[in-house]
Every structure is written in C-alpha cells, then in structure tokens.
C-alpha cells in the first residue's frame, strides 16, 4: 500500500515537473519585457507644512509610458502620495475617481530578479482611509530623514501593478528629486519622480 502511494506520488511529481518545464518553454517564446526609465514625473501638491495637501494628481499609464489625463491611468502621484486606479476614494482632497481595476502588490528584491506575478491575494486597492501604497511602516515607498529633511526611496521595494485594464507592470522608484541626484541635498527640488518600470503587455504571469 505504502509503496503504491510512493509510486503514485513520484509519478505525480514527474508529471508536475514536466508540465512546469513545458510552461517554462512556452514562456521563453514570449519576448522578455523591456525595462524602461521614466524621469522627472512632476507631482506638485498645494498645502503641506501642516495644512492638508491638495491639487491635481499626476496620472501615469504604464502601457502608454506617459502622463495621461484620460481615465486609463494606472497610478497617480501627488507629493509623496501615490494612488492606484482601482477601489474607492481614500477621502483626501482633490482625489480623482477610480475608473479602472488597478491594484498594487509590494514585494522585496532587486528589480531584475522580480520575475513572477505575486499571488492575487497580495494585491491591494485604495479604499476609504486605506492607502494601497502605505504612507508609513515597512511598505511605505520612502523614508523621511528628520535631520536632513530628505525623502529617500527605500531600496528593494518593488511595486507590482495590476493595470487599470488587467495587465501587469512592475516599477521601482529611484528618486523623488529633479534629475535624480545620487546624493540629494536641501537645494534639490522635490516632487519629481524618477522610476524604472517594466510593462508586460501579454496575459502571462511572469515578467
């Protein structure tokens, strides 16, 4: 009985492995996604300094690789706040309506090593008083240094985005300052995002 079970398990394992490797072979036919860099996305905000922040969000579409004003945006930026085009309004000033089904999953790693799409359950959307991009804690995209007053993007935080129309992209913020200086200082102009991203136009589960 036990031997049979063992044999069956082994068989199952072989089938599983081969089917996986078959998948892999199929995947290799799909052209690898291209990593692109978007520089100096302006994300102005009014208020701040103790007052509520306001002003229009700068909307970005990964498939179009540009700032858009239409409803087919995936993520949008204002100051340090990032929102996704999915879910419901958080409840902050001058917030656009969510028109798509975008979501974000936050993973750790070097950008190029993130190859697979995370589990569906890890994707989050904005909701009342909930930021899909957390503003503080381990998964916040930045650190604020109270001595230098500088915002630095955390290394190894990769944001896997389910786009407004159900495709996938991954992106990593490199800098919050204009022209992405390697060592920003107080003279650097903030609220300019530079990020790497890769967009997967095909409906596969890898990058």
């Amino acid at each position: 009985m036990r031997t049979n079970f063992l044999k069956l398990s082994l068989l199952a394992l072989v089938i599983f492995t081969t089917s996986c490797s078959n998948d892999d072979k199929k995947e290799e036919l799909v052209p690898a996604v291209i990593t692109q860099k978007f520089t100096n996305l302006p994300a102005p905000a009014t208020g701040g300094q103790g007052q509520p922040e306001g002003g229009a969000f700068t909307k970005f579409s990964f498939s179009e690789n540009k700032i858009v004003t239409s409803d087919n945006w995936d993520v949008a930026f204002r100051g340090t706040v990032i929102i996704v085009n999915g879910g419901a309004k958080i409840g902050i000033v001058d917030e656009p309506n969510r028109t798509g089904n975008a979501a974000v999953s936050i993973v750790s790693g070097a950008f190029s090593t993130i190859k697979s799409i995370p589990l569906a359950s890890t994707f989050k959307q904005d909701a009342a008083a909930i930021y899909a991009f957390p503003k503080s804690g381990d998964n916040a995209w930045y650190d604020y240094n109270s001595n230098t007053h500088l915002i630095s993007s955390k290394a190894g935080k990769i944001f896997v985005i389910k786009t407004h129309d159900g495709k996938y992209a991954k992106f990593e913020i490199l800098s919050y300052y204009k022209d992405a200086p390697a060592a920003p200082d107080l003279t650097s102009t903030g609220r300019y995002y530079t990020f790497n991203f890769a967009y997967q136009p095909n409906s596969t589960t890898t990058f």
Binding site: Q51, P52, A110, F111, A129, A155, T194
Partner: protein, 686 residues
C-alpha cells in the same frame, strides 16, 4: 593620565602653592601611587582595588589642560565620547550608550534639566573641582534610574586645614571667550567655608557665515557655589552646600524664510544639607536632604518685535536620603533609604506632572582574604508611574599578586520613561506632525478624532510603558609595576525595551502622530584600554583606546528586510549581513595619546594630547534604513590639544595653549567642532 596621589598628597595639593607642588610631585611621581574614590561603593575605597571599571580625573590634570567646562575635560577621557546624538544636543556616550543613560552627580547628588534626555555638561565649571570619578557600566544597584550606562560624580574642593587659601584665575580664548574664577577656602577650628564664583562668556562660533544662524550663539553665564561646614564634634559634622547657575543666551531661529530673535535663559539651583554621624568605630550614618530646581525660559520675536514663540521648562527634584555603613572587621555593609519627588511643568505639557518614588539599597563589601574582594548589592525602586525595579549587582576582584589583579562585574541598569516620553503633547508648527507622550496619547487621540484620517492598526496603550533596562558585564585586569600601569576592560551591554517613537495615526494633513513605545533590543560590546608610563620624573606618556560595536538585535535577526541598497546609479543591489555597521554615531575605534613633559629648570609643563575618532555614520544614505558599509560616513579625524604652563613664582601660574591646534573642521557633518581655539590663562594661588 591618572596621577596616583595619596589622600595626604591631595590634601597638601589644596593648600600649598604650585612651586611647592612641583617639588612634591618630583618626590612622588617616580612611582604611580594610589588614590581613593567614593562613587563606586559610596564608601571610600582605593581605586585599584575596586572590582568595577572606574577612572578618575584629578584637579591637577584639569589644571594642566587649561580647559574650563566639564564637557571639555570629559571629552579628553578614554571611552567617553562627546557628540550630538539624534536629538541634536551634545552629550556623552559611554560604552556605546547615549547621554540619556549616564547619571551626572555633583558631590553625590544628581543634576536635573535634560534636553531630549541630554544634560548640557557645559553648565558645570571645572574651577572648583577636586576630582571627577567616572564609573562605567550599569550602576543602578546604587543609583537607580539613569545610571544604566554609568555615573559621573563631580567632587568639589573642601577646606582641609586651618587657614585661608584659594585662587583667582582669568582665561581669555578665541571667540571672545572669557572665564573668570574665584575660589576661597577657609577653615578655623570647627567652622569651615568655601565660596566659588565663576563667570563665563563667549561670542559663540559660526562655521557657515552664509547662514544667519551660528553653531553656538553668544552667551554668558555665572555660577556661585557657597558651602559651609560645621563640626559639632569629631563624630557629628554638618555640611550645607548651595549652587546657583544662571545663563543667558541669544535665541535665534530661521523658520521658513523668516528670521526670529530673542533670548534663552537658564536658571539652576542645587541645595544640599548633610549630616555625617559617626556613632562608633563600627557604625556611620549620613543624613542628606537635597533639593534642586532647573528652569529655562525662551522667546522669539519677529523683526517688528512681535512675539512669535515662547517656551518654558521648570523641573524640581526633592530627595531625602539616609545612608549607613556598618563595618565588620574588614567588611562593610552599606545601606540606604530615600525618596524622590519630582515635578515638571513645561510648554507642550497639559498640566504639571509629578513623579514619586521610594527606594532602598543594600551593598556588602566583603573581603574574605587578601586576594578576594566581593561586592554584592541591590536596589529596589518603587515608582508612582512605572513598574517597580529591582537592580542587583555582583562584582569580584581577585588579586593575583601585588601588581596584577583581575576584576569582573555583572549588573542590572535601567532608565525610567522620562516626563517627555509620558506626557509630551507637541505639534510642530511648520511641518505639522504631532508627538504625544504614552500616558496622554490615548485621550489626546480621541480628542483629535476629527483631524485623524486613520489610526495605525495594532496600536494600543493598555500596558504601561516599561523602563529601558540593561544587563551589563565587565571583565578586566589591572596591572601596575613601578612606572607602568595598564588597565584593560572588556564590556557587554544587552539592552531591552529601548524606547523609541512610532507612528500611531495619520492626520488629514498627511503628517503622522507619533508616540513612544518599547521597541528594540540592542547590544553593545567592546574593549577599553588605559595605560601610562613615566619615562623619567619629567616625562609621562599615556595611551587610551576603545573598541566598540553597537548593534540592533532585530536588524541582525531580520536582515532580509534591510538587504537592498541603492547604489550611486540609484539601482538596487543586495548586500550581506556582515555589511551591517551598527548604530549611527558610533565609531569603532577611538584613541588618545597624551604626553606631559616637565622642564624643571624653567618650571614649565608642556601637555600635548592627541585624540582619534574613526569613521562613523550619521544617517542611512542608500535607502535600506540602516547603516551599512556602503553608506556615506563622516571621515575619521584627529584633534590635537596643546597647553604650556609656566610657574612664574610660588603663587603665580601662566598658561597658554591651543585646543584643536591643527584647526580640523567639518562644518556640514560635525557642527559641534569649532576649529582652533587659542587661549591664555593666569592663575594666582594663595
């Protein structure tokens, strides 16, 4: 550089002029002699026989350096690093622990009035100091809260012989710095008195003239310290000591682009009444009443003299204590009982807050034979605001022979949550974040409901905030032979419940509300070495070195959360666990080399001191929230201090010198390092 004088020589030193002093030195310095200390056990003990890491700075050493404030002389000691910590205030780091964890005493009683946990040690003039005793490692078993990293006890001079003696001195230095001292000591039969007065002023210094703010603004301060002694009999002695300190400093701030000016005033008063009662040869009592008040007031006005901001701080401590020592042959049982009543009223507190605590301590100093000394004790503190603390300590000294001994100690230390961590209620007017003390946070969060967007999950204030605590271990050796002395101590501190700020809610304005929580477990370990050698009676050299590692346990355990950094091209790369450098602001290596050269023929001393500090990091610069070896560091540096003292006559001393002789400056990274300061000092002794 520790002169080992007998108490008798110290006594002579206070009385005789310096020319005579030089002669005395020539007689005694051939061999390093013993000195007695009180801080380690609260009874008089020979320094070298103590099982604890302890060091001493004598009046003579202070005088030869020509420095005037306590922070300056402490910064010249091995294992004491003076640096602005994360709060921006300059304090001392001992065994890798920040300034908040060192208790500072004057004549055995504590100084209060800390800024973000840091005491400004430049408040204390060195003009009437007899000696400074420094005990490193947890000492809560005798001293309770704050003595988690160590204790610094400043002991002032006492009149010892029937006569009038004293000195006047004046020192002028770079930045228009003036220091004027008068110290009078008088004794007649049963009465004795000591009056010390000091005036200190400076224009401050400015490393970046382009900005309107100076690194240190212009200030003046004065200290008056009268003390009275009356011996009712040989067995009953009364001591009354008062100290007044007052400082006025320019207060300047740049908020947004507006420039504000005003004043900042500090006032301090300490009063100690003590009766020493020797009941018989075996039983000795000390009854002590201590009260102290520290106040500061500051304001800022805009250019049209309209009041912009005003802050105040008013702290009181009242402390009666009774101590007794019972001598049984060579052994001593010391016990004490006392209470603390503390109050604080300040800006950003809703009401005056009060702490009450009662404590008892017991210590047994046991000498079973010539070779062993065992020190065992504990202290129990009962406190109105946090859980009671039991702080035990055990220390052993084993004398292998007359020259060589081994010492080890294990102790518990703690620091109670301070007033600020419990009662702060502060909103930054320009940025808009809020910081709430733990005990008021819940109620204030409810009141602020309409400003709050979202509370962080998993935050509750059900359990009271715990005291920060440390287990401290030391193992060391003491070796002395003729002209050579070597002390080595290795230390380890394991610290729990470190209190740090954590965001508890997000406000509608996008900023956070913070409160204080017990967060991390950290450890520090290292080695301290002190040595001196007298080549001849005129040439003495000393060398000191400290190795230090200070790390956060959770970073080592969860390194996967910190393993990615951003390189110069802003791309993410992965680093190894071994690349974790440790805490901010900690140098792995610090060292000092001191040379004292006496040219007897012209009665002149040359005193050269060189200090080294290896590289250290101030903040994370590559995006992984910790300090790793790829971060930007403050480069290692040397500081050289030089002074020359000439005894013109028996009573007149003339001194010139330069602190930071080579004018090392790093304006952006070391804001407390002023550059070269030249000085000249004249002292008249009688």
């Amino acid at each position: 550089m520790k002169f080992k004088n007998t108490l008798y020589i110290t006594l002579l030193f206070c009385q005789f002029s310096f020319a005579q002093q030089v002669q005395k030195d020539s007689l005694v310095v051939k061999e390093l002699l013993e000195v007695k200390v009180v801080t380690a056990t609260r009874t008089e003990r020979v320094l070298s026989s103590l099982p604890l890491p302890i060091s001493i700075i004598t009046a003579k050493e202070i005088e030869k350096t020509g420095v005037t404030r306590l922070n300056e002389i402490l910064s010249e000691q091995t294992g004491i690093i003076l640096i602005p910590d994360e709060s921006g205030f300059e304090g001392i780091q001992i065994q890798g622990l920040d300034a908040a964890y060192t208790l500072v005493l004057i004549d055995g009683v504590p100084i209060v009035g800390r800024n973000a946990g840091v005491l400004d040690l430049s408040r204390i003039s060195v003009g009437n100091i007899d000696r400074i005793e420094i005990v490193k490692g947890a000492s809560s078993a005798l001293y309770g809260s704050e003595a988690m990293g160590g204790v610094i006890n400043v002991i002032t001079k006492k009149p010892k012989k029937d006569m009038l003696s004293g000195n006047f001195s004046y020192r002028y230095a770079t930045f228009n710095t003036n220091d004027l001292n008068a110290n009078l000591l008088w004794k007649k039969n049963r009465f004795s008195a000591n009056v010390f007065a000091n005036f200190y002023s400076s224009d401050g210094f400015d490393l970046d003239k382009a900005t309107p703010l100076k690194n240190v603004e212009k200030f003046y301060n004065y200290t008056i310290n009268p003390k009275l002694y009356y011996d009712f009999s040989k067995k009953v002695k009364l001591i009354i000591s008062n100290r007044f300190y007052n400082q006025n400093m320019n207060n300047v701030a740049l908020i947004e682009t507006e420039y504000y000016k005003g004043d900042a005033e500090e006032k301090e008063w300490n009063s100690q009444v003590k009766v020493e009662h020797k009941l018989n040869s075996k039983l000795y009592f000390e009854y002590e009443l201590y009260a102290t008040n520290y106040k500061n007031n500051s304001f800022l006005e805009d250019e049209s003299k309209v009041l912009y901001d005003q802050t105040f701080y008013n702290q009181w401590l009242f402390r009666p204590e009774i101590r007794t020592t019972f001598s049984i042959n060579k052994n001593k049982l010391t016990a004490g009982i006392g209470m603390n009543q503390e109050t604080l009223d300040r800006t950003y507190f809703n009401a005056i807050v009060k702490f009450n605590s009662q404590y008892v301590f017991v210590q047994y100093d046991y000498n079973p034979n010539q070779k062993w000394n065992i020190l065992a004790g504990f202290r129990y503190d009962n406190h109105s605001e946090y859980a009671s603390q039991l702080s035990p300590k055990l220390a052993l000294n084993y004398k292998i022979n007359t020259n060589f001994s081994l010492k080890t100690s294990v102790g518990y230390g703690y620091k109670a949550p301070d007033f600020r961590q419990l009662y702060f209620d502060f909103t930054n007017p320009s940025v808009g974040y809020t910081v709430l003390g733990y005990n008021v946070a819940e109620a204030r969060l409810n009141e602020m409901q309409d400003q709050i967007l979202k509370k962080e999950s998993g935050i509750n204030f059900d359990e009271p905030l715990q005291a920060e605590s440390a287990v401290n271990c030391n193992f060391g050796t003491f070796y002395k032979k003729e002209k050579f002395k070597l002390e080595v101590n290795t230390f380890y501190n394991s610290i729990h419940n470190l209190i740090d700020t954590k965001a508890v809610a997000q406000k509608n304005n996008g900023q956070s509300i913070f409160s204080y929580f017990n967060t991390n477990a950290v450890f520090t370990y290292g080695l301290e070495l002190n040595s001196n050698y007298n080549f001849t009676k005129d040439v003495m050299v000393s060398f000191g070195y400290q190795y230090l590692t200070a790390k956060d346990k959770s970073i080592s355990e969860h390194f996967q959360d910190y393993q990615y950094i951003r390189n110069n091209e802003l791309q993410t790369i992965k680093i190894d666990k071994s690349d974790y450098f440790g805490f901010y602001n900690r140098s792995k290596h610090t060292a000092n080399l001191k040379l004292l050269y006496t040219i007897s023929t012209i009665k002149t001393d040359i005193n050269l001191r060189i200090f080294y500090r290896s590289k250290y990091g101030m903040f994370d610069s590559n995006g992984n929230q910790i300090l790793d070896k790829y971060d930007t560091f403050v480069d290692d540096y040397f500081i050289t201090n030089l002074s020359a003292s000439k005894y013109i006559s028996d009573t007149l001393l003339f001194q010139i010198g330069a602190n930071n002789l080579l004018d090392y400056k790093e304006p952006n990274q070391i804001p407390n390092l002023s550059g070269r300061q030249l000085f000249a000092r004249i002292q008249f002794n009688f």
